[in-house]
Structure formats: C-alpha cells, structure tokens
Amino acid sequence: MSSRYDAEKFAKDGENRWLWRMHPRKLEAEAWRDALLAVSGELDGAVGGPPEDDVLASRRRTLYGRISRTGDVFATDAFLRLFDFPAAVSTAEQRVTSTVPQQYLFMLNSPFMTARAAALGEWMSKRPGGVAEKVGEAYWRLYGREVSAAERALAGEWLGNEPGAAQWAGYAQVLLSAHELMQIP
C-alpha cells in the first residue's frame, strides 16, 4: 500500500483512521546509506567478506558494517546510532524513529555526504542534454519519478546555465539530503 496523498480521501479521513493509505515512514539507516551509494553510482555490491569497522570509509553495503555488542566501539556503531539502529546490547522489538538536528549536520557537513554529492554531481554533469534534462534524469534515478515543473524551475534557478563541478556537487547534496530519498512512498 502506498502512502501517496489523495485529496479526496484526505478530505474525508485526514487522520488516516480508516487506513486509506500507508502511514508515511522513513527508510532504515542501512537502506538509506545503501541508497546514497547506489544513486551516486558508487555502491560496491560484492557479496561476502570481512566486515568493515567504519562504513563511512567504505562503499560496501551497510550490512557489512561491524557492530559491537558491548557499546558503541566502532565508527560504524556511531553512524548507525545516529540514524536509530538499535544498540546490540539488548533486544529491540522495534526500531524507534528519531529526527534530530545531528542527522542534518551529518547530511550537511560529513565527508561521507560530500563525497557522495561530488560523485552524483559529476554523474549529472556528464549526462547528455542541458541542465533540465540532467535534473530530470537525476529525479528518476533518486526518486523514481518525473521532476515537477516547480522543482525543475528551482533547479534551473539554483544551477544557472553552465554550472561548475562545485555547483553540481552542491545541488546533488541537496537531492541526497532531501526527505524524499529517505521516505518510503
């Protein structure tokens, strides 16, 4: 079931008491990190092998991050904790979902995000066509949908006619940080 908005149903049951749509949810930390690497074209999809102490220095799937059962020991633990992966010190029947400023500091400032943004920006800059076409392709790649007129206009305004690498990277970081990538439709 999709969490997509429907004006008519919303008018009748805005609280979604009768479950006309799925409640909007967020991706889990692992899937979100994998998605960032996948859309920037950097994901190493190799199966098997030793775990990674620091998934932020790795391009492998988050599944291969090493986690500690005695507290946050590895860099991977700290990253996962920031995005609500439960500590493996006790049982967790369910994940809590938190939305805290530090998550956005990660998106805005972390070397991991800026590296993904640079890669995605470079990919966009090399796609054929003008800015509008490149942006349209990125929307399909990241969100699986057509870019809207409003979004295309914003992109055009922000990027200008001949954006350089830094602008592409900056724009790519915004697309990667947008809620839509973290959201389950």
Binding site: A11, Q94, T97, V100, P101, Q103, Y104, F106, Q173, V174
Partner: protein
C-alpha cells in the same frame, strides 16, 4: 476525558488536527518551512513560533520552575556514605539485624559496614554530610533532601530507565522529552533538551533522553563534553571548504524541495520534524560553539566550577538554560564506565571518593552561580542515581545495590530550602517514613514545572501514555 487531550490536541492543532486543509498547508508550508528559513537567515518574522512543536506552551498551572537541570548519577551512589547519615552503623558494625536482611541484586550475607567517611554538620539546617561532598555540604541550606526514595528493581539497566523514562522497559519517552513536549522550549537556536556526559553515556544511552513515540522534535540532543572543543562537541558541526553563504543557499533549496514534498504527501509528521531538525542543525552550527565555549566565562567563574569535566558540564548546563534550553541532563562518568557509581561494589572508599571529587565542586558552583544570577528560583536542580547502596557490606569494602531506600536531592525552583523529607530505617537500608517512589518524584518534578502528571498524556498504540503510567503522587510536602 476532556482534559487529558489538552497537550495532544494542542500538538495536533498545530500540525494536523482541527485545521482546514488550506490552513494546515499554509501553516506547514509557510509556518515551518518557509518562514523558519527566512528567520534563520536573519529576517525576523512575527509569530513564526506558533507553528513549531518546540514553541513555548502554556503549562497546566503556574510553574515554580521553568527549567530542569538533572544531575544524574548512574550506577547507584550510596546514601549512607553521602547524605543519609547513619551513626547506628558504627555501633552495630558487622551485625546483620533482621531489618537489613533483605535480598538485593545479590544475596549477600555480610554484616553492617559503617561508612568509611567522616560526617559533619553544615549550615543553619545542621545537615550531616559526608566528607566526600565538602562543597555541596556548604549548600545544604538551599537543598531539600528526599531520603525515602525507593524503586522497583535493584538492577542498573531497568533502574536507570525507571528513573529517566518512568518504566523498566525501553520505548517510553524520557522525562526531558515529556517536559519539552509539555512546555516547548524558549530557544530557537538550540534543542529544547540537551543530554550531556563526559566520557561514557549512561547505560541505556539514547533511551535516557529519547522521545520514543513522542514527535521527534522532543528528543534530547546528546553532547559528549569530554573533549571540550566547542567546534567538536557535536559531530559534523562544521563543513570544511564551504562558506556560510554557500551553505545557506543550499539549505534554502533543500527547504523548498522538502516543502514541495510536504505538499505532495500531506501532513507527514516525519517530514515536518525533518524540516525543523534541518533548520535547527543549521542554526546550531553558529550557536553551539558559542554556548559550549566556557572560555567566554570570566576567570573567576571558571575557577568557581573547577577543572573537572563534570564541573565544566555544570557550567555549560548553566549557559544552556540561560539560552532557553528547557531541560539539561548531565550524567557523571569519570572513565568509560556507563554506570560510574557501581564501582561501589568493590570499594566504597576509592570508588565513591573519586566520583564525589569529580562532581562536588562543579555542583556546588552551579548552585551558587545560579543563585547569584537570580536563576535558582526558577531552575530546578535534581541530583541522584537509579538507586542507592546497602548499608551491609559486599566483600570487605563495598556495598551491593539498594532499591529499598536511597536519597535524591532537589534545589531551586519551588522546593524548600534546608529541608529533609522522609527517612530510611536506622541503618539506612529501606525507606520507612514518607516513602517516595520514582513515579512520585517524577510527578513532583512535573508539578514544579507547572504540569499535572495525570494530564500530560500522549495517545500511542491505542492508549494514552503518561510519564508516571498509572502511578505517581505529587510530594507537596517538599514544595516551598
């Protein structure tokens, strides 16, 4: 049925509830996203706070305290070695009278162990305090000691959760999250609730300051103060190689895109919280280094708080509440141990003396400084752990856990000065007089902050939750 919705209704009114769709869109789009961004870029916009879940909210009744500083002592500090003076222990050393023959975590069979520390009387109230807290001792005339605390289990993980979230199991909102949900915050540049510790986080970590099922905006923000570099207290606080103006334009674009998405999916609480968190993250980059920079304090003030990490934490706590942060939780740790005071099992002398030394001066300084600045009257300071330690010995020099009776003290915002409430038995094991359960303490803290613990509810998973579950008695006797 009428009242218990008050806060939830208020939240829903702001974010989804009784508004028409058009109003809601306007409020969310303009109120949170657009206007928020405008404001963070330096433009003052009247009334923007009304749309924010962290906007200040009216309490249920006139509060005695506007802010809470929780000095959390994980691991269980021993009451009979700190603030609950029991001279009878020396007279009956080595004996095991029937009244102390109660099982705690372990079934210890040892006899009574007198405190290895001396006790002296202090202040006009003549309060007996252990020699390991010489500075706090000088503040006893500001303090209400609650000697009759008791809790449900003598085990750290559950006991800590009970203290901080009012339940033995996780996935309940923390005290600080409830308070921020109930009252909002008085700052737009900092989180409403900040949890700090030097070195180790208290056991249970996130749960101690988590929001659980409350909206994400009420989660505590954890800061490790060990390194004390204002730029590095929070991870990824600074962006290398991008100036502030460039980042502003990036954020403006991100906010616009998120707003378009918000209109598309309509009333997604996660997305509202995300926009808020993103904006706060941006503002934190400028405000956090300042508020955590204790070098901005005078030499005299820094000297007052001392050089210990916890002392600096106390000073930061004061700076945070001055900036309008609602709740600060400052947990003690002197090394990597997440239940610091538990070193009392093996060695009360070494373990407790070192821990008290690490926090004594800072705590006393905080009380004095708050008072000097006229902040103590409206700031509630609560000191204590998840339980105490038994008067009998475990091994030669240590003590086992004691959940039957222990001491918590409160100072400032609306509590009596130089007062002691409740009592343990003559040896200090069990609370026997005017017993105060953790739920009662939490109900009292909410009461002092102007909230009725029975009305502060949130509907989740088919029922209305409270910090105090179905328990809690406000201890009016400690209220000034």
């Amino acid at each position: 049925m009428k009242q218990f919705f008050d806060h939830e209704r208020e939240y829903r009114r702001l974010t989804r509830g009784n508004l028409t769709r058009r109003e809601a869109l306007l409020r969310m789009g303009a109120g949170i996203g657009g206007v928020g961004l405008a404001a963070m870029l330096g433009e003052r916009v009247q009334g923007m706070e009304s749309g924010s879940p962290l906007a200040p909210k009216a309490p249920h009744f006139a509060p005695r305290a506007k802010r809470l500083i929780q000095l959390f002592m994980p691991g269980g500090p021993s009451q009979v070695d700190t603030f609950d003076y029991k001279p009878m222990l020396a007279k009956h050393a080595g004996e095991r009278p029937e009244m102390v023959n109660r099982r705690s975590l372990r079934d210890t069979k040892m006899g009574l162990m007198p405190s290895p520390f001396g006790f002296k009387q202090y202040g006009a109230s003549g309060k007996w305090v252990s020699d390991i807290f010489p500075e706090v001792a000088k503040c006893v005339d500001e303090i209400t000691f609650v000697h009759s605390m008791h809790t449900d289990i003598p085990e750290h993980a559950g006991g800590i959760l009970m203290t901080n979230i009012g339940a033995l199991q996780p996935n309940r909102p923390s005290l600080g999250a409830w308070l921020t949900y109930g009252l909002g915050a008085e700052t737009r540049d900092l989180p409403g609730f900040v949890a700090m510790s030097p070195r180790a986080q208290p056991r249970g970590k996130l749960a101690n300051w988590g929001n659980a099922f409350l909206p994400g905006a009420y989660a505590g923000t954890y800061v490790n103060i060990e390194q004390m570099k204002p730029d590095a207290v929070i991870r990824d606080l600074k962006r290398a190689g991008l100036d502030r103006k460039a980042q502003e334009s990036q954020l403006e674009l991100l906010t616009k895109l998120n707003r378009l998405q918000l209109e598309r999916v309509e009333r997604d609480q996660n997305l509202e919280a995300a926009i808020q968190a993103m904006e706060m993250a941006y503002r934190m980059q400028a405000s956090v280094p300042g508020v955590f920079d204790v070098t901005r304090e005078s030499e005299e003030t820094r000297k007052l708080y001392g050089d210990s990490e916890y002392g600096k934490g106390c000073l930061i706590a004061r700076r945070l509440i001055e900036e309008g942060v609602r709740v600060v939780q400052l947990s003690l740790s002197i090394d990597g141990y997440d239940i610091a005071w538990d070193t009392g099992h093996g060695d009360i002398v070494g373990g407790h003396a070192a821990l008290a030394k690490a926090c004594d001066q800072g705590i006393a300084a905080l009380l004095k400084d708050l008072k000097a600045r006229g902040l103590l009257d409206e700031t509630l300071v609560v000191w204590g752990g998840e339980f105490g330690r038994a008067p009998t010995s475990e091994g030669d020099k240590g003590r086992d856990h004691d959940h039957y009776g222990y001491t918590v003290w409160m100072a400032g915002g609306g509590v009596k000065k130089g007062f002691s409430y409740g009592a343990t038995d003559e040896f200090g094991l069990s609370a026997v007089e005017d017993r105060v359960h953790v739920h009662d303490m939490n109900a009292t803290i909410l009461h002092l902050m102007g909230l009725d613990h029975e009305k502060l509810t949130y509907r989740y998973s088919g029922r209305d939750y409270r910090l105090t579950d179905v328990h809690g008695r406000v201890v009016h006797e400690v209220v000034a």
